[in-house]
């Protein structure tokens, strides 16, 4: 399979302190790449580097190459707004925008200039269905997104990313605050979505990576320790640190 995203010797600094050490990896087209590792290992920093969310905070510096379809993401010519439309992200904390469910889903699409009501309606139904949320909210699309439960809010956040029809979806511990049933729904959604999208899933839950990821990378203290097919990483890891982490003997 072709590479969607290529990362070479990519390092990140916040106020001169290093958070990622020369990461190199590829993300293949239409795969789910799982990223595991303890808190503070640089997983989120890595993820947010890909759609340039990190630079919204002051003190961010980077080195190395990060490219999608062969185009340098950090090139001065890159249109960041367009980039973020192509690379959607779902954050760890589900945060719907303070507007209705419907408006949440069409928010990004409206900004891209689609105004046709019928088209938007179809898009809302399709995105919410893909996010396994449609049946729960179809009768109350006009209530505030903030009134949904945490699990529903997270699926709404996934739906609004899907509505943008991005090429890549970044998920930052999307189920960390959710109950097992909501988690299962999101994992089901991901399994179906990978035929259309390339997905990077950062998770604190190693079992989740084992369940849904095609390949898995293990981060520790800003280093990429190991990356490979999920089965291989989980059954016969090359590095001792990986083995310690996934068997829970860490620390």
């Amino acid at each position: 399979m072709a590479n969607k995203i290529e990362i070479e010797n990519f390092s990140v600094y916040w106020n001169a302190e290093r958070y990622l050490n020369s990461i190199s990896l590829e993300v293949k087209m239409n795969e789910i790449l799982g990223i595991i590792g303890p808190s503070g290992s640089g997983k989120t920093t890595f993820l947010r580097s890909i759609n340039r969310m990190n630079e919204l905070e002051t003190g961010f510096k980077h080195e190395g190459l990060l490219s999608m379809d062969g185009n340098d993401i950090y090139s001065p010519d890159t249109d960041v707004v367009l980039l973020r439309k192509k690379i959607g992200i779902v954050f760890a904390m589900p945060v719907p925008l303070p507007m209705s469910i419907y408006e949440n889903v069409v928010y990004g699409v409206r900004l891209s200039g689609i105004r046709n009501k019928q088209k938007l309606d179809e898009l809302v139904e399709r995105s919410l269905t893909e996010a396994y949320l449609w049946n729960e909210v179809k009768d109350r699309l006009n209530i505030s997104g903030l009134r949904l439960s945490g699990g529903q809010q997270q699926r709404l956040c996934l739906a609004r990313v899907l509505a943008m029809e991005p090429e890549v979806i970044l998920l930052d511990e999307p189920t960390s605050g959710l109950d097992p049933i909501s988690t299962a729904k999101i994992e089901d959604a991901l399994n179906e979505l990978k035929s259309k999208y390339t997905i990077i899933l950062v998770t604190n839950n190693t079992k989740q990576a084992a369940r849904v990821a095609d390949r898995t990378g293990f981060f520790l203290m800003g280093d990429l320790i190991e990356i490979g097919d999920t089965r291989k990483v989980f059954t016969s890891p090359v590095k001792k640190e990986t083995d310690d982490y996934i068997t829970g003997r860490f620390g």
């Binding site: 973020r84 439309k85 945060v95 925008l97 303070p98 900004l111 956040c157």
Partner: protein
């Protein structure tokens, strides 16, 4: 070191708190007691809606002052509110945090400049410019609007900034991550979420403008008339009280207290609107 004990401390603090409230109550009672009988004796509509203010002849119509106060306040809002809100948006959403750290306290410092200084600048700088370029006496409604517009800036900017910063960061991130530009994020998400706080900032600015006395006396000209243009000399409600209090006696004095009653009621209404808006902002999150 237990001089008072827990109970003693509590009593002393309670006394202090109540003395602040009772001062407010006393002032309110005093003004109402002096002003209300006059209003009813003279007639509410006679007092509020006739245009003759000739104390020597026993005529006390404050309609010109009401209109002047309204116009001066509206004019000040038209200058201060857009500038203030735009400034707050720039500082929170566009300027680097370092710039905000320097500029916000500087703007708040504007609030501590005595109003007589604003008035002085209005008389020495602004009035001659207006006289030269627009005509009229210079000391005018327009001068009052501009000076008041600047005076309310710190209120509008600083409360707007606070309410914009209170909007959760995650709203902005969510919007930006969906491919929105900074401006789209600002007006579709941030400003909507901060709306009640911004409204409160404008209403508090309004209260400040309508209650301001010294600067207005100095720059607005003070002749009693219903303004027909921005270049007319006007007298506001506050100016009316301050200008005539020193020599007023009898009915005249009571009429000035009655003017105070009108101001008092207007400002209480404005402040309750503002505090309702602020409360709404807090329950919102």
């Amino acid at each position: 070191m237990r001089i008072f004990g827990e109970n003693g401390v509590r009593r002393i603090l309670m006394l202090t708190a109540f003395s602040a409230i009772s001062a407010l109550l006393l002032i309110a009672l005093f003004i109402l007691n002096e002003g209300l009988p006059f209003i009813f004796r003279y007639g509410v509509s006679n007092f509020l809606f006739t245009s003759e203010w000739i104390p020597a002849k026993g005529l006390f119509g404050i309609f010109p002052m009401i209109m002047s106060s309204i116009w001066v306040t509206l004019g000040a809002m038209m200058i201060g509110a857009p500038l203030g809100v735009a400034g707050a948006i720039f500082l929170t959403e566009y300027a680097p945090p370092a710039v905000m750290k320097i500029i916000k306290p500087t703007i708040e410092l504007l609030a501590s400049i005595p109003s007589v200084v604003y008035g002085f600048i209005g008389v020495m700088v602004l009035a001659p410019i207006i006289r030269e370029y627009f005509g009229g006496p210079g000391l005018s409604l327009l001068a009052g609007c501009i000076i008041l517009g600047i005076m309310i800036l710190p209120t509008v900017i600083s409360i707007s900034i606070d309410s914009i910063l209170a909007v959760p960061r995650s709203y902005r991130e969510g919007s930006l991550a969906l491919g929105a530009t900074t401006w789209q994020t600002t007006h579709m998400v941030t400003l909507k979420a901060a709306r009640s706080g911004i409204v409160a900032s404008i209403v508090l600015g309004l209260g400040r403008a309508i209650g301001e006395t010294m600067a207005v006396i100095m720059v607005a000209g003070n002749s009693v008339n219903i303004p027909s243009s921005a270049l007319d000399s006007v007298r506001t409600l506050t100016a009316n009280i301050a200008l005539e209090m020193s020599y007023a006696t009898g009915m005249h004095r009571q009429a000035l207290f009655a003017t105070g009653v009108v101001l008092f009621i207007v400002i209480i209404i404005l402040n309750s609107i503002a505090s309702t808006a602020i409360r709404k902002r807090k329950t919102y999150k």
